[in-house]
Structure formats: structure tokens, C-alpha cells
């Protein structure tokens, strides 16, 4: 049996914009992936605990509130602390271009902005999950 790619789509922080996260979740499902969606208002701690229990291959973070610079790196650091640094982390939402490099330096592999096609995200995951 081919192992399915398992992805956690999570919304850290107080941001309530969940349309994008749901659109992405469905697109990944339609691409044959098993997608956990844990809803809005998750702390980085909850997201990482969930990722470890579920043994996901990848985490997609969604943030439209502007708090990405704080929340995304926190998730990456907590993963490392829990010995799960091999999980692929990427993100999307309303994120200014000038923040992207900093996020990548902090260990977020890729950022997907409004207007990018979900096909790109699917390609990215398939190419980067071990």
C-alpha cells in the first residue's frame, strides 16, 4: 500500500479568517492527501502536540492577521524541541513580501500568497515530503 501523505492545516493565534485554510484543505484532499484540519485559534503548542500525535509529514500554517512573524517560527522551534524537526512546515495567507525571507530563514520552507494556485502547493508538498 502506498503511504498517503498526511498534512496538518492549522491556524495559529487569534486570527479567525478560515476560508483560505479550508480551500487549501479541500484541494489537498482532492489531490489524494489525508488532511487534518484543527480549526481556528490554535496555540503553537497545540499545533505541535497534534502534529506529533498524528505523525504528520507536513504542517501548513495559515495566517491573515499579521502575526505570522511571531507564530510561524514558534511552531518550527517547538517541533525541534519535540524531536520532530523533520516535519516539513510551510504557510500562507496575507504575508508581506518583505517578511518571506525572514520566515524562510526561520525554517518555514515556502509561503503561498493569495492568487497562487493550490496546484503549486500540491506540487511543493509532493516534491518535498520525504
Amino acid at each position: 500500500m502506498d503511504k498517503k501523505i498526511k498534512v496538518l492545516i492549522a491556524k495559529p493565534g487569534l486570527d479567525g479568517h478560515d476560508r483560505g485554510a479550508k480551500v487549501v484543505s479541500r484541494a489537498l484532499r482532492d489531490a489524494g492527501m489525508e488532511v487534518l484540519y484543527t480549526g481556528i485559534r490554535q496555540t503553537p503548542e497545540q499545533i505541535v502536540a497534534t502534529a506529533v500525535q498524528e505523525d504528520v509529514d507536513s504542517i501548513g500554517l495559515s495566517c491573515l492577521s499579521g502575526a505570522h512573524n511571531k507564530l510561524f517560527p514558534k511552531v518550527v522551534n517547538l517541533l525541534k524541541e519535540k524531536g520532530a524537526g523533520d516535519v516539513l512546515v510551510f504557510g500562507g495567507g496575507i504575508i508581506p513580501n518583505e517578511d518571506i525571507q525572514g520566515l524562510k530563514d526561520a525554517g518555514i520552507s515556502e509561503i503561498f500568497l493569495p492568487g497562487t494556485s493550490t496546484e503549486d502547493t500540491i506540487e511543493f508538498i509532493k516534491n518535498n515530503v520525504k
Binding site: K4, G32, M33, E34, Y37, A49, V52, Q53, G83
Partner: protein, 310 residues
């Protein structure tokens, strides 16, 4: 492998999670892993939660977890959601209702997709239960997919099966013919805040009055979103468990469970060996061409297997 097993037996989260992945995906090492942990299983109480889509199974599970935690019990949860028949993917959404427990060390929640397995659970659900059991969880809750009339495998897995019903899903005839009705050890009439809950409650009770079984299912009203009726429901679940033990039905249940597990692997194994035979495709073709009947085809395949064995 040793690290994985030692870790999971001592209740560590990541080894348990990794071991579940091996088992869920039939990865190499699965047989060895199960063999080594099997002697440590059999201590957990297995609770099944089933019922129609959207009845409130996950919300109820969330509240039952909280109740069990207050009593100091550790809890493992397997939440099963359906895979898409088109893409093979799945959205695993049960867990969203249980995230208040994400940081509790005494709770381990794992989501599984059915991967086109019929019966309301995933093919390897039972093996994942063994792992949670071996890791020392006191109670293991399995939430099935939203079921219709015949996805009732949970009854062969769980010691106590809770069927969650909600008002407004159909008339009493539909209730009566639903396969899930017959498997209930305990009924929860959830969404009791809605119109029709009292009527549903009395309809189910009237139906139960006609049942002649060994142990009559108890029935409770709950409002899962508001945490109403949960204490009574959990007491009812325990009461059922105690009655099963007291009436000597436990041995029978365990034997049935063991047999159904064995049977599943037996069928898998026979299928794997059969499809591996060189004559297999040819037999299929001849059945399709109506040269031989499926029953005769089976005889040919078994003859082929015997030849391989000798």
C-alpha cells in the same frame, strides 16, 4: 525497533505515534511490532461511539474524555473519517472538536481515514487499538465514521458501543430498520435541546421494550455542546461494562473479537497468496467469459495453492 517498543510501552508519545504509522500503513516491521506488544494488551476498556453523520459523536467524545480525565483515567482516541472514493484523500475533521485536550499528557488522539474499508472503521483500527492499549491507556474510544444502516464493525471491536441518535433524521420505521440500532449497548439521544428529542427518546424506549436480549440497552438524553447529561451517560457506560462482566458475557465477547481479528487476517492472507498465483488472472478471465463459475474458480485457485505448498 527496540527504541520504538520500549518508548511506546513506557507511554512516550512520539514512539507511540511512529508505531501507529507503521501499523496503519502495513509498513515493514508491523508483524514484529505487534508480536512484541501483544502480551501487554488487554487492559484497556474499549468504547465505541457510532451514529449517523453529524449526530455529535466527536463533540460527545470530547466531553466523555473530559469526564474520564476528571476521574483520573488516561484516554486514547481513534477518530475515523471517510476517505474520498474519488481521490483517495480525506479530511480528518473529528479532532477539531477535541482540541482542548491537545496538551493533556493523559490523552492521545489519533485520526484515521477509512481508505475505502467498509464497516465504519479503518482496516487497521484494531491493531492501532492494541498499540494504545499496550501504551497503558485506561480507556480507548473509537469514533466511527458517520454510519447509515450497516457499518457496524465497531460492535466486534468495542466492549461497549454507544449509538448516538438525534431528532429529525426520519420516522420510527427508519429508526427500526437501521442496523446501528441493533448494536447499541447504550443509546445517547443527543441534541436534546432540539425539538423532537422527547419523541425520539420514547420511540427508542418503546422499541427497546420489545427487545428480548440478554442485557437491555440503557438510554440517555445529552446536549453535548453544553456538556449536559455526560455524567449520566458515562455512568451508564460503566454500568453496561459491569453487567457484561457479571453476566459472563465478557468471555464470549472476547472470543468473538479474537475470531473476527483472526478472520480478517486470514482473508487478507488468502487473498494475497491467491492473487500472487500465476493462474489467478487466467481464472478471472475464464469466470468473466463464463467458461467456469466463480465457485469452480475458487477450487482451481485452492488447487494451485496446494501445489505451491507441496
Amino acid at each position: 525497533m527496540d527504541d520504538l517498543i520500549d518508548g511506546l510501552l513506557s507511554g512516550k508519545v512520539r514512539p507511540l505515534a511512529k508505531a501507529i504509522t507503521v501499523v496503519e500503513n502495513d509498513q515493514p516491521g508491523k508483524r514484529e511490532l505487534l508480536k512484541r506488544i501483544y502480551p501487554k494488551t488487554g487492559n484497556a476498556y474499549l468504547l465505541g461511539i457510532t451514529g449517523p453523520p453529524g449526530a455529535g459523536k466527536s463533540t460527545l467524545t470530547d466531553k466523555i474524555i473530559a469526564n474520564l480525565r476528571k476521574q483520573g483515567k488516561t484516554v486514547g482516541v481513534i477518530a475515523v473519517d471517510p476517505s474520498s472514493p474519488f481521490s483517495g484523500g480525506a479530511i480528518l475533521g473529528d479532532r477539531i472538536r477535541m482540541q482542548q485536550h491537545a496538551l493533556d499528557d493523559g490523552v492521545f488522539i489519533r485520526s484515521m481515514a477509512t481508505r475505502s474499508n467498509l464497516g465504519g472503521v479503518a482496516k487497521n483500527t484494531v491493531d492501532v487499538i492494541h498499540l494504545l492499549d499496550a501504551s497503558g491507556k485506561d480507556v480507548i474510544i473509537v469514533e466511527t465514521v458517520g454510519v447509515g444502516q450497516d457499518e457496524v464493525d465497531i460492535v466486534r471491536i468495542a466492549q461497549t458501543t454507544v449509538v448516538v441518535m438525534v431528532p429529525g433524521l426520519g420516522d420510527s420505521v427508519q429508526i427500526a430498520k437501521a442496523g446501528v440500532m441493533e448494536i447499541a449497548d447504550v443509546f445517547a439521544v443527543n441534541k436534546a435541546d432540539r425539538d423532537g428529542a422527547d419523541k425520539l427518546f420514547s420511540e427508542i424506549r418503546a422499541m427497546l421494550d420489545m427487545v428480548k436480549g440478554d442485557i437491555k440497552p440503557a438510554i440517555f438524553k445529552t446536549v453535548a455542546v453544553d456538556d449536559v447529561g455526560i455524567e449520566e451517560l458515562v455512568q451508564g457506560i460503566y454500568a453496561h461494562g459491569e453487567r457484561v462482566v457479571a453476566s459472563g458475557l465478557m468471555e464470549k465477547k472476547l472470543a468473538e473479537k479474537a475470531e473476527s481479528e483472526l478472520r480478517a487476517y486470514l482473508i487478507d492472507n488468502i487473498m494475497e497468496r491467491s492473487t500472487g498465483l500465476t493462474i489467478y488472472d487466467d481464472v478471472v478471465k475464464r469466470v468473466a467469459a463464463k467458461e467456469i463459475t466463480p465457485m469452480d474458480g475458487v477450487e482451481e485457485i485452492f488447487a494451485g495453492l496446494e501445489m505451491m505448498a507441496s
